[in-house]
Amino acid sequence: MKRPLVMGAVAYAPKVVTIWEGFKEYFRRHDFEFDFILYSNYERQVEAQIDGAIDIAWNSPLAWVRAERMARARGQSVRAVAMRDTDCDLTSVLVVRNNSAISELSGLNGKIVGFGAIDSPQANLIPLDHLRAQGMVAGRDFTAKRFDLLSGKHGDHIGGERDAALALMAGEIDATWMIDGNHLAFSREGILPASATRIIARTGAYDHCNFTTSPNAPEQLVTHFVELLLGMAWDNPEVRPLLELEGLKAWRAGRTSGYALLDRAVNDEQFYDAKGNILAIDYRY
């Protein structure tokens, strides 16, 4: 048997097994040996990348930031080689109830603002950073209520955002953050009734997940892997269910231009240091 390319992925939901088993089958049909190792959290996965236990990882944006810092600190490098079309140019939105008196950020003074999991780029780190850049600091200007769920999954399961949305409608908090797409998703689910909420702020654009190569990943295998990924056509009924599960219509070549906001937030919120060491003291994973 040829040497497989070994990928790491985080098991943030049961569907993860279905997704990567499906990908494994797809790669095998194209005579490409591929295997995967599931981790319970992104921290362990990034460390495995640096240790060389895996060749490539399906990383959250926060995991990318840490992998890049850890590799750089060791004089190595990692690359973002592919991502989903839906990973590009996301924004997070700050939502209030439609009948709320709050219409701009200054209105948050003294209020309770909902955030997702501590390690959620989209519902905690980038929003905190966005507010900080606007002069609003948690604990000083407003109370941050975190909806921590499944720490270590970097907010992938969106459970924290959903719980915060429910709390908003229950009147327990005054505003809450979520990815722009989740605002629509929660409204489709009925968690946020139609027109019952109002967007009062929006972060800058940022990118989400990517396939991150490990420092000494086998170059040829990675290249072949990316070629096969980019060749997955949404109109092919054999791969469409996998793409739908993973939430994309097309794979794109990786880019790192969309992580600047998160990189700044990681520094400002003191989540990791420059070498990728974890600084957040109440972070359990």
Binding site: G181, L184, A194
Partner: protein, 408 residues
Amino acid sequence: MTSNFTTQKEISLPSIIDIENLGLDAGAHLLIKHGLCGVSVGGEILVSGSAPGWEAQLAAWCRAQGHPLTFTDGKAHIIRSDIHAGRWRGATQTGHADLLQTGAVHEHALPCYGLAARGATVEAGAPEFAFRLNQKHEVWTDSAADLYAQAVAAQWNPELAIDWNAPFELADEVEDAVAQVMTYMIENENAALVVPARFLGQMHPHFREVQAVLAIQVADEARHIDVFTRRLRLHGREPALSTAGGQASLKTLLDEPDFSVAGFLLSVLGEGTFVSLLNFLHEHGPDPVTRQICRLAARDEARHVAFGMAHLLRRLEHEPEFRSRLAQAVETRNDTLSATAGLNEEVFDALILLAAGEFTPAAIATGYARVQTLMTDMAEGRLARLLRLGFEGKTAQRLAALHTRNFM
């Protein structure tokens, strides 16, 4: 709807959709989708809005839909992508809902049609369903839609259609006989319910008209079982005797795996014979409730026979050699049942008593003669149906005579 937004289509300028203050969390995407339908792939539309944060919502929606989006001068520019259409490449067209259209019903209903409405376009990669009865010639009946419509129109509510409080009093022996005949009929109706119900679960929904007939046939039989039970219990009786021979006869119906053969044995021969029995009970039943029940049940059963006949006539027209398979089925069934007693003695005697109406020698003589006439009617009915199905005279007579002595 159109008064709430404006669409300006011109040859050179992109369409402008104004979603006003409607958010995409409240349905604005429908207006945008509608606008995109008006341009070809690669074409552009402009969207303007005023709901707070509509730009963020639109960006999320376009990202998920795969449409490139930019903003200039407060307006969103959306390029229609063809990626969404990819879902329908290689999709399967599943005939037509309307039977009058050419190719409405396919000869072979594919497993991938699944549960889709006939005529729907089914996405490639849909799961395959293992419906065993997926060949048109195995199940199709041209008049199924009409028969279903008739059946729907002829449904009756036992509560209203039967005068359960009609006054009558029967001698104990006659009431016992009613209980025995009802016991026997419930047993037979159980077979008449289970046989189509089993095929119903195996039939490809593509043949929806046939599916509908079977479904309402099952409902008919459930109603018959109910009213026969209610009549049986009307004067406090419990169900009476069930013989091994009677059940053996019915079991052969349940054991038959072929839809057409089962329909032949159950509907054409069995239920056809049963129609004669129900007409007999309608005419000679000892009380008004029994007579009313049997009149209505006979009407339903006649429809079941009509369906069986129509199906077999079509199949034999396309497949004349199938006639020998039917003949063989009657012979095999007769062989299987040769060691059984056939109609149980209690039922036969009960029928005489019912037709007699009272427990006197003169009345019993009348009842006996009537049952003999019934047997003749049944045999003649079977023969007539066999002849109608194209069996040659002598074969038809032989097969009619081989029919189970259990009537069904």
